[in-house]
């Protein structure tokens, strides 16, 4: 009885081929001979299959490349030194024995990153951070490139490394930094700060009385009189930085040229006494802050107290957060309390 697979002559009556084990009673067996077919979704969206193939192609090459750098098996990829090599540019090259190249990558990245962080919020800072990212991608791509002959393959590999690094490292790191503080650059002078200064504010911490905050002034048109008696109209809008004098529920009143909060003299008095001439005590409503409008209005215009209150009582949602740091210019690096 000849085996259909290897053509070996078996004894009559044998159930399986003595050489290859193929069943010799296949004709009597009930076997489905129609192969499974790809679903409609895969046929209409072949990119789904392409994602799987790209993963199968990309991940093992990174695994094997890092394994060769690490000197261990590919199963060691999940260990922490491998992740360290992805985070620290140049470490892979150093472990490979190419110390000069490793230090070059690391030094370049460290310098660009440091300067970028110092100048964060400025155009130069953004540029330096971008260059640091590029240096990191280059270092990691050099460590994991393998042998790609075609230009297209090299470009694809570089793109995958850049996207992976951005999604897995830089995006979470950026999110974490924004939880601490957000830089912004002043487009106009707000005494005591100058135009071009980079300040950091926290959009997580809640503002309290005494904090210097960045807030959005409610857009309002105020009517007043100039010092020479002529009427004037002022439109107030935009972002300002000022001190929170009183929080929700606190009582603010003006007494003998002094601003009182909850009966005691406030530590923060307005720069100009004419600014707040309230006759009655004011309880700061819930969901609002009382913020001194020191740099809000020109000195040459007198505004009624009622109108001043409209720009002094700021809704909580308009307060972006307390300002805690001035990072630029570097010679005026200050922690703000």
């Amino acid at each position: 009885m000849q085996c259909p697979s290897c053509q070996f002559e078996n004894m009559p009556g044998s159930g399986n081929c003595a050489r290859c084990g193929t069943s010799l009673t296949l004709a009597a067996a009930t076997i489905d001979v129609h192969p499974p077919r790809a679903g409609k979704l895969v046929r209409t969206a072949p990119s789904l299959l392409g994602v799987r193939r790209a993963w199968n192609r990309f991940f093992p090459s990174v695994q094997s490349a890092l394994a060769s750098v690490w000197g261990g098996s590919e199963n060691a990829i999940a260990r922490w030194p491998t992740f360290l090599e992805c985070i620290v540019p140049g470490l892979g090259q150093m472990r490979r024995g190419d110390r000069a190249q490793g230090w070059l990558f690391f030094g370049t990245f460290a310098l660009l990153l440091s300067l970028g962080i110092l100048l964060m919020g400025t155009t130069a800072g953004s540029l330096l951070l971008g260059l640091a990212f590029a240096a990191h991608v280059t270092a990691l791509r050099d460590a994991t490139a393998g042998s790609f002959a075609l230009l297209g393959d090299r470009l694809k590999h570089a793109l995958l490394v850049a996207i992976g690094l951005f999604m897995l490292l830089y995006l979470p790191a950026g999110w974490a930094i924004t939880r601490v503080g957000t830089p912004f650059r002043l487009t106009q002078g707000l005494p005591p700060f100058n135009q071009g200064d980079v300040l950091w504010y926290s959009n997580v911490a809640k503002a309290t009385a005494g904090d210097l905050v960045l807030y959005e002034v409610p857009s309002v048109s105020l009517a007043g009189n100039r010092n020479d008696g002529y009427p004037a109209r002022i439109v107030v809008a935009g972002q300002r930085i000022n001190r929170v004098v009183a929080g929700p529920g606190q009582v603010v009143q003006w007494n003998e040229g002094q601003l009182l909060v909850d009966g005691s003299a406030s530590r923060y008095q307005p720069a100009s006494a004419r600014l707040l001439q309230m006759e009655d005590a004011l309880t700061v409503p819930r969901g609002r802050f009382f913020i001194l409008p020191d740099n809000l209005l020109p000195n040459a215009v007198a505004i009624s107290p009622e109108q001043l209150l409209t720009v002094s009582l700021v809704a909580e949602e308009r307060v972006l957060g307390p300002v805690f740091l001035r990072s630029y210019p570097l010679n005026h690096f200050t922690v703000i309390r």
Partner: protein, 258 residues
């Protein structure tokens, strides 16, 4: 006696009725296998797959049909299904070299290179020799950018002189976008079978990818002479006959450089 005059005995004019010879084709497993092979040579992989299944409905012992099914699934781009089916076939025919090679090809297309290499090694270690095992080996070399791919495809050609071998080698090269080598294989196929329109079509595709538009037009024209209803050839002809920016042609040549 007159009444017996008209009796007929042994009349030569009367001949027994001849029944017409019926050239009925017996649709056995060989018939369906032949039909599957024929469709495969024409590039009709879906039909070929169905005919391989018909072959197996009649005789499950036809290993070539099992192999053919996996090969057609690979040609149709259904790689996970090809892997599944080859695994099932290997359960029935353990250590069958062609099936191992077919699974290796499907694994290679899914970029599972380790498994593909192991299966290809296993296939080559089995008894006998076949073109398909060497073709799959060549595909692995192409996929991993190694330089021995030409040697493997040459071995395949030596094992089987059929013109389908260089044609399928060309299709492998096309899949990995190595169009310069694909063109050479397609030319060999065309020389082996000048009347095979699918070979002319594949040659035309390779030439158009390399930027040899006039040669590609000639190839597609020849394909359409042999098969006037070839839709893909008509589409490619239409694309080529439209004016193109030279920069796109230069960029195509640059990206396909190897």
């Amino acid at each position: 006696m007159a009444r017996f005059d008209k009796l007929e005995f042994g009349s030569e004019s009367e001949e027994p009725e001849k029944k017409p010879v019926q050239n009925r084709v017996e649709k056995d497993e060989k018939y369906w296998a032949h039909l599957a092979s024929d469709n495969r040579r024409k590039g009709n992989y879906e039909n070929a797959l169905r005919y391989y299944s018909r072959t197996l409905e009649l005789d499950k012992n036809v290993v070539a049909a099992w192999v053919g099914q996996v090969q057609m699934l690979v040609q149709l781009g259904e790689y996970p299904q090809a892997i599944l089916w080859s695994q099932k076939a290997l359960e029935i025919f353990p250590a069958q070299s062609e099936l191992m090679a077919a699974q290796a090809q499907a694994e290679c297309r899914m970029a599972n290179m380790k498994k593909a290499h192991a299966l290809s090694d296993g296939a080559l270690q089995q008894r006998g020799d076949s073109a398909y095992r060497w073709q799959v080996r060549g595909e692995l070399m192409v996929a991993t950018k190694q330089k021995t791919d030409e040697h493997c495809f040459d071995k395949a050609q030596l094992a089987d002189r059929d013109w389908l071998v260089p044609l399928e080698s060309a299709l492998i090269y096309c899949h990995y976008k190595v169009f310069s080598k694909a063109q050479l294989k397609a030319k060999a196929a065309v020389e082996g079978a000048p009347d095979a329109y699918h070979a002319w079509y594949v040659l035309g595709v390779c030439q158009s990818k390399l930027g040899f538009d006039s040669s590609a037009v000639s190839s597609f024209e020849r394909c359409l002479e042999l098969c006037p209803r070839h839709i893909e050839a008509q589409r490619h002809m239409g694309d080529l006959q439209q004016s193109q920016w030279p920069f796109s042609r230069i960029f195509r040549r640059l990206m396909n450089r190897n």
